[in-house]
């Protein structure tokens, strides 16, 4: 079951470079939230009940519900719908994503360390690279936000690999999630989105040499 969830998680990451609609991005983020909740329940069942409840609440309430709702609201409010001005074609993004997947598998294979669950490590590395690819290739700031959320989900997934022994690290990851996501979504929603409709990152050029 755990492996099936992780494979589903990888599928969401592979789908990420193919899609160009922001609603799909939001659905992927919500789906990842649900998958992470499932993984947390299966992986961390030995934890203290309250700690477990905290993790599940964070993944379900925050990642799977609140963040997607905020993103959907942003889509409705700003009218942004799809990647009108992509930095590279979907094909290039897919090729890069597959290269990232291959690189993650190779690194994981060569590390092959018994101290850490290598499946979690490999998928987290792929999530990190997928997030960075999305941030680098797409011009719309909305895509950058999604890229960051994907990256953060990857970090959270990896925290679960070591979380059985070090639950404090999971709590820190949760704090990172909530604090930064709230801050970034807040700035994005109330300031950036309000003052600049439909923005591309190449319009943020007031600060330069």
């Amino acid at each position: 079951m755990l492996l099936a969830l992780i494979i589903l998680y990888v599928v969401t990451l592979v789908y990420l470079p193919i899609t160009e609609r922001f609603r799909n991005y939001t659905i992927i983020i919500a789906l990842q939230g649900w998958i992470l909740m499932g993984i947390a329940m299966l992986r961390l069942h030995t934890l203290d009940l309250w700690e477990m409840a905290f993790v599940v609440a964070e993944t379900l309430v925050f990642k799977a519900i609140i963040v997607p709702v905020i993103l959907m609201r942003t889509i409705s409010r700003t009218g942004i719908n799809r990647i009108a001005a992509s930095g590279k074609s979907q094909f290039n993004a897919l090729v890069l994503s597959i290269a990232a997947l291959t690189a993650s598998i190779i690194v994981t294979y060569y590390i092959a360390d018994p101290t850490i669950d290598m499946v979690f490590f490999g998928v987290s590395l792929y999530a990190l690279l997928s997030g960075l690819i999305l941030i680098t290739l797409r011009k719309r700031i909305f895509s950058h936000m999604v890229g960051f959320l994907v990256l953060e989900n990857g970090v959270f997934l990896f925290s679960m690999a070591v979380g059985v022994e070090l639950p404090a690290l999971i709590n820190i990851a949760i704090m990172l999630d909530i604090l930064i996501s709230v801050l970034m979504l807040g700035v994005f929603l109330t300031k950036i989105g309000g003052s600049m409709k439909n923005i591309d990152s190449d319009k943020l050029t007031m600060i330069k040499d």
Binding site: I135, V162, D209
Partner: protein
Amino acid sequence: MLLACFIIAVISAAGVFAARTDGMLKWLCSGFYLLQTAFAVYIIAAGTGETELLFFTFDRTGVLFHALMAVVSPVAFGYSLWYLDRETHVQKQLYHALFILLCASLTGVYYSNNIAVTWIFLEATTLCTAGIIYHRRTQRSLEATWKYIFVCSVGIAIAYLGVLLFGGLSHGADLSYAGLAESAAKANPLFLQLAFVFIVAGYSCKMEVFPLYTIGVDANMAAPAPASALISTVLVNGGFVSILRVYRVMESTAVSQWAGNVLIVAGLISVLTGAVFMRRTNHFKRFLSYSTVENMGIALIGLGLGGFAVFAAVLHVAGHTVLKSAMFLQASRAGKSFGHYQVKRLGSYINVNRPGAVVFMVAGLLLLAFPPSPLFISEIVIFREMAMQEKWILLAVTVLLLCSVMYNFARNIVRLCYNHVRAVPPVEKPGYGLLVPVLVLIAAAFVLGVWQPEWLTVWIKGVAGQY
């Protein structure tokens, strides 16, 4: 004692938020900086040792950088009082409260003995700094704030992956640097390499070095100049301390040489970046920020070389802290006189504020590592270490890049002081209240470079090899 320090910071910040008048705000902040300085003096006098808090230790590294912050932050606060004259009371409240919280967060970074706690406090600095950058509430400051939060968040998330990897290595043991050094010695080298790269890449946004240096430069441009004096020095030091501590963990492993090489490469690219962009930029605060990138690059190279060059790296960072803050604070006066920071439209500052122009030239020369600057000693030691390790290409490239830096730096300072421009502001009063603190900072550089009392040398050597 440390707990009291954190509590005082939180109460002071809350008090500033609640202060109804500017006078009250001023007294509250002054009280905080006075206590902070007294705290630093007390720790130096009492010596290093354990704190009452589990995750913090009064070690030499922490005490040195805390003392530097205790010197720089009150001066930056004093300048802020003078600089922020058009702001509303609420804007001032937020600015000063965040200033205090930034100092408290950095205190946590400096004294933390645990990799996860360091990370948490570095994250806290992001929140405080973002608020300070957004102070003006203009489109430009909004853009800078967004970029700062975004890039720092990405950097911090990447660094957290490195922390998690170290957590995995410790296998349930504690995450203290001492504990990590023990577990890392037996760890898989590839694992360690990945963890180290993630942490250096992530923390580079704080230390203003390659790869995420851009965000510090943008932040300094958008933030009020006295805040830039803090961001470009004590915040950068926070990044330096964090990387130094992780590097110490790596020293006990089989890949310590490799880790040193990573730092050398990152440092060299940072020096290259500084050299190229100091020539290109037309904004005086960005120009000073690229100088920070260059200087931190030299410090990273020193760290990477190891041996006595680590002492030089620490001395370099300490010297840079006092000199760069003096430059930024004086730049705030020049910027206010001219009403802008466009390098090509700045000039004749010698006729506007003669003592101020002298400060620029003296601090500039010291920053360019002319003797008796502490940076002269540090760079000579780093070059000597390169020669001793027979890294001739590295030595040649670094010297060449530093020549370019010197030329561009001197050119812009001379242009600021002597260039003839159409719009020259009226002659300024010397303003000794503002001049004296900057002179004190420059004098501190002389203490580091010329006098260097025995206890200070021993202290810095301790920072370089205490573990």
